[in-house]
Amino acid sequence: MVRHITLDNIEHLAIGSSFLGTGGGGDPYLGSIMCREAIARHGPVPILSVEDIRDEDNIFIAAALGAPTVMIEKLFSIEDQHRAVEALERYLGREATAVISAEIGGCNSMMPVAYAAMRGLPIIDGDGMGRAFPALQMTSFNIEGVACAPLTIADEHGNSALFQTTTGLKAEELSRPVAAAMGASVCMSCYAMTGVEARRATVAKTLSGAIKIGEAIADTSSTSHPVDRLVAALRAHEYYSDAAVLFKGKITGLERDTTKGWVFGNCTISEMNGPSKAELKFQNENLLVTVDGELRCIVPDLVTIVDAETAHAIPTERLAFGQRVAVVGCSAPPILTTQRALDVVGPKCFGLTQDYAPIATLIKDLA
């Protein structure tokens, strides 16, 4: 059992969270530099399991919000994150006793770790998505009735704003123009939870899961194939366990459309020595994959394209014709597949016509 996030496993977290990013979520590289500096200065970050959260605990989210192209210019700092959390603490009149990630997939797995290190607080072994999603309301917190608002954002100058809104959707809508006015790369906090709420609404075991997945992919001492190690690590996890390589081949077709603010697109993968084809659909994150016309995995279950040799996840913006890839699918955490959850993160929310079907019902050869 991993008990701390240290300089030794931060890289595993980055690799594992890229896989759970299902093609989106952003590059954890900058965040991992910040984590390194924070852990080197403040020491390792203790991990708190969801079942060990006490009723009287106060759990706060730390997250970056903005355009990726701006983030790589303006970078981040933990002090700005602190302003966002502090503003929320002050408004609510309660102080954080633990930090949690809103989104374990991609770059937002990192900021909470650096922030927890700075505050000397534990980080929860869990998050609000168990993967990556493109919108703020697509969280288990929202699904389980935790309010997104009040939401705070903070810039690098000491400016912060608090949005007390009726719905999470409204909080996102109102915060975006303010975030743009602040320079389009800000720190944020929302979904503040009591211990009772956090125990109920968190997707548990995703932080330790990401570390284990990263560890398996990066394990250079092993003689087995990285893709096999990845699948084995998923199968060993409590939720991601219905996992399989859905297809192997090379990318032979790619369509991307970024005009509407999201990256919409399709990717065709062809078998190397055979006629089979897989079709993958994405909107920032990967949404569904069919093999020869048959559905194999659909959101909220996870589909990630990985390098066929190294098993490292390939984000949608780096997909390219000719790449040799494996398509790996796995089951979503159960908290995301209830009827109530599917109304928030199900196929319909992405404009898909297909119904959700668990990967276990779509794939025969699951161990």
Binding site: I72, K74, G183, R318, G322
Partner: protein, 519 residues
């Protein structure tokens, strides 16, 4: 007439070109001091071709010297880094994520000072002259002479970087300044790293430029010399002294450009086969396709314009094995020991070169040493080599359909059959010195990479026009002859999550070097 020189790790090649004709080519070992190797190669070339030094109009040099110096941590000086943009970005200061040994050699202090720009052009903070003056004093007191200046969104607006440079020049004229906006693209850390790397190499660049100059003077060549940049275009000696980092990865680029020139091909795969590896690159409109991923140089993350190269373990020294699953070739190689270990040289290791000789496609070494190899083995090994190449070529293609292939480099004799996916196989004369030819034919370029606000078709048109005009003006400023400059590439990338149609436009223009050439 022009001379192209490629200073590689092992050999220094020189070629003499007149218009579209290769008049001569020589290969000499690279010398430790670089200049004597160049001297030897050029003087051999001049005497081979029977010309006088005054007939030479220009000398173009491609060198890996700066890359090697950086990777091997040789001849680097400490750098003081000033980043403009405080309080933004302060969580990840300069030199973050640099390898410890390099940091120890180069980090001469750093500061983050107020200034910088937002994505939409607003100032993050007013530029703070006093803070920069403090940095100058700090650097002086530490005995640092090289300053690297970076600034948030300086690709959009370089004004604060330029003001810092002016101020430093006024306060301490002995300090040399490298600006990130002149070196890199969007991505603050990578651009800042490029400026720091550049600053650390500048004293060496001064030395190398002087060595080049004296080598040419010793030979009686009075023509100007130019140096290859990583995008296949040239810069003058003055420019190289200021921007040595721009020579990184010029070698593979020159080899691709040389292949394009030798064959006249615009779109093709280029396979450069050496002793240990084959480098596979792609020509698009006769220029190398550039890599889209971050490139680490000596352990430091950068975003230079680098050609997209796939290296596979196939070369003249690749070890050939007969196993249960059939014949395998490489990825291990006997490397420089080819001349003692290969069968044709009386050794005991079956190599790809032995297969080429046994099959009658190459003549070197002692063919009788491989006459006993079974024809099945030779045939299968050749098939294995072809399929390795076919696989690599397939990985590098960006569209379905067959594509022409150009073979260059010493190991091109290994390939006798057209691999799958190849429409036409070309192995031009002088393929062994494609690098030096690539240097000789270098053109001059200009590039812009900035973010525009495209709200409607009209503003889109205006932005594209502006980007093109800026790229062309930069090419002319870099020494291109005005009438020859063309826009070779323009990309528009809409930015996610941003209002106002914010779009990144990258535009590149290329033209011929402005010089009079006597035939």
């Amino acid at each position: 007439m022009r001379i192209g020189v490629d200073v590689g790790g092992t050999n220094t090649d020189a070629v003499l070109l007149s218009g579209k004709t290769v008049l001569g080519a020589v290969k000499r070992p690279t010398s430790e001091d670089v200049s004597s190797g160049i001297c030897e190669a050029i003087s051999a070339l001049i005497s081979d071709c029977d010309i006088t030094p005054d007939a030479i109009d220009a000398v173009m040099i491609g060198t890996t010297h700066f890359t090697n110096a950086f990777v091997q941590r040789r001849d680097l000086v400490p750098v003081y880094a000033i980043r403009i943009g405080f309080p933004a970005s302060r969580g990840i200061p300069p030199f973050s994520s640099w390898p410890d040994d390099l940091k120890a050699a180069i980090e001469g202090g750093s500061a983050m000072v107020p200034g910088g720009f937002e994505f939409d052009g607003r100032e993050i903070s007013p530029f703070d002259e006093d803070a920069v003056a403090d940095c100058v004093q700090d650097a002086r007191s530490k005995g640092i002479t090289q300053i690297a200046v970076s600034c948030i969104f300086s690709q959009l607006n370089a004004a604060h970087e330029q003001r810092a440079a002016e101020l430093i020049g006024k306060l301490a004229p002995e300090l040399e300044v490298s600006l990130s906006s002149e070196l890199g693209r969007v991505g603050l850390l990578e651009r800042e790293n490029a400026a720091i790397m550049n600053a650390s190499l500048r004293p060496l660049a001064l030395k190398i430029a002087a060595a080049f100059r004296s080598a040419l003077a010793d030979l009686g060549i009075i023509a100007p010399f130019f140096v290859s940049q990583n995008d296949g275009t040239l810069m003058g000696a003055d420019h190289m002294q200021r921007y040595p980092v721009l020579t990184f990865a010029a070698g593979p680029t020159n080899s691709l450009r040389g292949a394009a020139w030798l064959t006249g091909a615009d779109d093709a795969i280029v396979v450069d086969i050496g002793g240990t590896t084959s480098d596979i690159g792609v020509l698009v409109s006769s220029f190398p396709r550039q890599s889209t991923v971050h490139v680490d140089v000596g352990g430091v993350r950068t975003n230079f314009r680098m050609p997209d190269i796939l290296s596979i373990g196939l070369g003249g020294g690749s070890v050939v094995r007969a196993g249960e699953k059939g014949i395998s070739v490489g990825p291990d190689s006997v490397g420089f020991r080819l001349r003692s270990e290969a069968l044709i040289f009386g050794g005991h290791t079956l190599t790809a070169s032995d297969i080429a000789v046994a099959s009658g496609h190459a003549e070197f070494g002692d063919a009788s040493m491989v006459s006993g190899l079974s024809s099945d083995l030779v045939c299968n090994a050749r098939a294995a080599i072809t399929s390795l190449l076919a696989d690599a070529i397939d990985r590098m293609k960006t569209a379905p359909g067959d594509i022409p292939m150009i073979l260059v480099g010493g190991g091109s004799v290994l390939v006798s059959e057209k691999p799958n996916g190849v429409s036409k196989m070309m192995c031009p004369d002088h393929a062994g010195v494609a690098n030096a030819i690539g240097a000789a034919i270098g053109q001059v370029s200009g590039e812009v990479d900035r973010i525009y606000s495209l709200v409607d078709a009209e503003s889109r048109e205006a932005a594209l026009k502006d980007a093109k005009a800026q790229a062309i003006a930069q090419a002319v400023a870099a020494g291109a002859s005005e009438g020859t400059v063309e826009v070779v590439n323009i990309e528009t990338v809409p930015l996610q999550y941003l209002p106002g149609g914010a779009t990144r436009i990258v535009c590149r223009a290329v033209g011929d070097l402005a010089m009079k050439e006597s035939e």
